[in-house]
């Protein structure tokens, strides 16, 4: 065993060196579960983005067109692949449109969340003192309120559209990322290469952006995927409480919520959105897990 690894190391030394990101990419490619999860997410996203365009322009279908005679069709009945809901709307169509909204929220809000989290985390960690105190006060305050409470109130009073909900979710959700980044920056800013950069006269901005930021990027990417997964569940939870995105705009969350009144006549309506939510969230988590392994520089030590 020891002999074998020595040979590979020797060989490896003669190969051209791989950058950190290229190496991580190569690692993920070998990680079948992660590749699978990424593909599922990609397929879902592509379907949700492209299909509505085809439906509207080629097939002339309207997602909100109701038809009372077609209420509560079972899956497969009279040409409805996944049946119809209480207003006779095609469940399959609505799932795709709902997915478009839910996934948009997940991607956009997680991106903004992470953006705010990184910025504030960098500032707090790098400048310390007053800046840190102020930001940490915000972090402590936001994390002292049970997570859903503020979201519930904020979205109840503002009755959000998709865009507003994205902003609200991000504005209340950056705390974890910022705390994480701040902790990393505290140790990173003491490193020699930061000192070297400063000695060469680099500005604070340059040190932050080109020396510290790349080093927190990997952990932040992991959090971002986890946050995206959480956001899908949160969106559905808010919809359930009646303060999410309002019908007729479908989201997986409010479709699920509508379905609870139709246990008897349309049980299929309860299952499909929930299963899609579950698959999507699991995939986000799996990608997060995969990224964590791929981006962990210590993985070769074991």
């Amino acid at each position: 065993m020891a002999q074998r690894s020595k040979i590979t190391r020797l060989e490896a030394a003669q190969l051209p060196s791989r950058s950190f990101w290229r190496d991580a990419l190569a690692f993920i490619r070998r990680d079948r579960l992660t590749v699978f999860a990424i593909s599922v997410l990609l397929v879902f996203t592509l379907i949700c983005v492209l299909m509505p365009v085809i439906f509207e322009n080629v097939l002339n279908l309207d997602v909100n067109s109701t038809s009372i005679p077609n209420r509560f069709k079972q899956p497969g009945e009279s040409g409805f692949i996944l049946g119809t809901d209480q207003l006779g709307r095609d469940q399959f169509l609505r799932l795709i449109y709902g997915g478009r909204v839910s996934l948009t929220i997940a991607y956009l809000a997680s991106f903004i969340t992470v953006f705010i989290g990184i910025s504030l985390g960098l500032l707090a960690g790098y400048y310390g003192r007053g800046v840190d105190d102020l930001i940490s006060w915000g972090v402590n305050t936001l994390s002292a309120i049970p997570p859903l409470f503020l979201l519930l109130i904020a979205s109840a009073v503002w009755e959000p559209s998709t865009e507003v909900l994205v902003v609200v979710l991000a504005a209340l959700g950056w705390v974890g990322t910022s705390r994480l980044v701040r902790g990393e920056v505290l140790s990173l800013k003491e490193r020699d290469y930061v000192l070297a950069a400063r000695a060469l006269g680099a500005s604070d901005l340059r040190i932050l952006v080109s020396h510290i930021l790349p080093n927190v990027f990997s952990i932040v990417m992991v959090t971002m995927t986890i946050i995206a997964g959480n956001l899908i569940t949160i969106e559905s939870g808010l919809s359930y409480l009646g303060v999410g995105i309002q019908p007729p705009t479908p989201t997986w969350g409010n479709m699920l919520t509508d379905s609870r009144s139709y246990f008897v006549s349309g049980v299929h309506l309860v299952f499909t959105p929930g299963i899609l939510i579950m698959i999507t969230v699991i995939c986000f988590y799996l990608v997060g897990d995969g990224l964590r392994d791929a981006l962990d520089p210590r993985r070769y030590q074991q």
Binding site: W137, G138, N140, T141, L142, S143, A144, I145, P146, P147, L148, F149, L150, L152, I153, A154, A156, V157, W158, G229, T233, S236, G237, Y240, L241, G242, V243, G253, L256, R260, F263, V267, V270, G274, I277, M278, V281, I282, Y285, L286
Partner: protein
């Protein structure tokens, strides 16, 4: 130790004020008007509306409203008839003096309403945290003992699914299966209201099974993974190798070294658990019609009953802050490796 406790307590003060400011600001930015919600109708009397607004202090600048909310307005004269001269003394004592004001909707003190609801939420929350931690740790230890075997895979599956499933959806499914199809368990409320006589423990427990299970699932899922990783990591430590090397038997190594060191960090999650369980309770109480704080706050949000909303947020945060404080202190006591400055 005492010093650490004091410092943590001091740190909690700005946090508490932050919570009050934040919840006040969100409410302040709300477009709806509580008075309009009450007097909504065809025979609106604008003058009466204005008087009511003045009585509630809604005509005051935000800062004044905030101060009244915080320290009360019994020292100020309120100008109800709108002639510019205050004549009636205020009747609020403010949250710093233990008074959360009165509900706009039903005129009852907020504190009284909260106190009625908190025990129900606590019953749910305490049970969920207990079950969540016990089950999580037990499953995690099982997964670590049998790591790589099918038990490990099953537990991994439980934890992946348990984390990803939306709570209310799981609640609905359980209601469909156990409540409607099998007719085994009650699906709403805290007890059977048609039953005569005093408190019936068996009945109360039967009502708790579904909501507590749903509420604890997240923590079962998370802690089983966490515990497994922790124990497997401890097993690779040098002191475990030493223990093996000196010929200790497997059981002793597991109990004294692996479990003891591996399970310790679980204690750090008691604090966060309180927060998520309180938040989860908002949804679960709605699903299972559980008359707790969560339901109170949702009803209040929709009625624009701001004193109740802000009171609930502050109380929930206080419970959370105290919980985190206690769990941190407990961890310090449990783990002698942590040295406090």
């Amino acid at each position: 130790m005492i010093k650490y406790f004091q410092r943590r307590l001091l740190q909690a003060i700005p946090t508490f004020f932050g919570v009050t400011i934040l919840s006040f600001m969100i409410i302040l930015s709300a477009p709806g008007d509580p008075v309009a919600m009450i007097t909504w109708g065809p025979n609106i009397n604008t003058e009466a509306n204005e008087a009511m607004r003045r009585q509630l202090g809604l005509d005051q600048p935000p800062l004044v409203q905030y101060v009244y909310w915080l320290v009360g307005n019994d020292w100020a004269l309120i100008d109800i008839d709108g002639d510019g001269v205050g004549e009636t003394p205020g009747d609020r004592y403010g949250i710093l003096r233990g008074d959360f004001g009165k509900s706009i909707k039903n005129k009852r003190p907020v504190m009284q309403q909260l106190m009625q609801r908190i025990p129900a939420t606590l019953r749910l929350g305490v049970a969920a945290i207990t079950i969540g931690f016990l089950m999580g740790v037990v499953l995690g230890v099982l997964a670590a003992v049998f790591h790589g075997a099918w038990i490990d895979q099953v537990i991994r599956l439980i934890s992946v699914v348990g984390n990803a499933v939306p709570q209310f959806w799981l609640g609905l499914l359980l209601i469909i299966i156990f409540g409607v199809q099998l007719d085994l368990l009650p699906i709403s409320g805290m007890q059977n209201i048609t039953r005569r006589g005093g408190f019936d423990l068996a009945d109360a427990l039967r009502h708790m099974i579904l909501p507590v299970f749903v509420l604890s699932l997240n923590w079962i899922a998370f802690l089983s993974r966490f515990t497994r990783t922790q124990i497997l990591e401890v097993l690779q430590q040098d002191y475990v190798r030493t223990a093996y090397a000196k010929g200790l038997n497997e059981k002793v190594i597991w109990v004294r070294h692996a479990l003891r060191n591996g399970l310790l960090p679980v204690a750090t999650f008691f604090g966060p658990a309180i927060g998520t369980v309180l938040a989860g309770a908002v949804i679960i109480e709605q699903v299972f019609a559980w008359p707790g704080m969560g339901k109170l706050i949702i009803d209040a949000v929709f009625a624009r009953d701001y004193p109740v909303v802000m009171g609930s947020v502050v109380i929930a945060s206080l419970m959370f802050i105290v919980g985190v404080l206690l769990s941190d202190i407990m961890y310090v006591i449990l783990d002698p490796r942590i040295r406090l400055e």
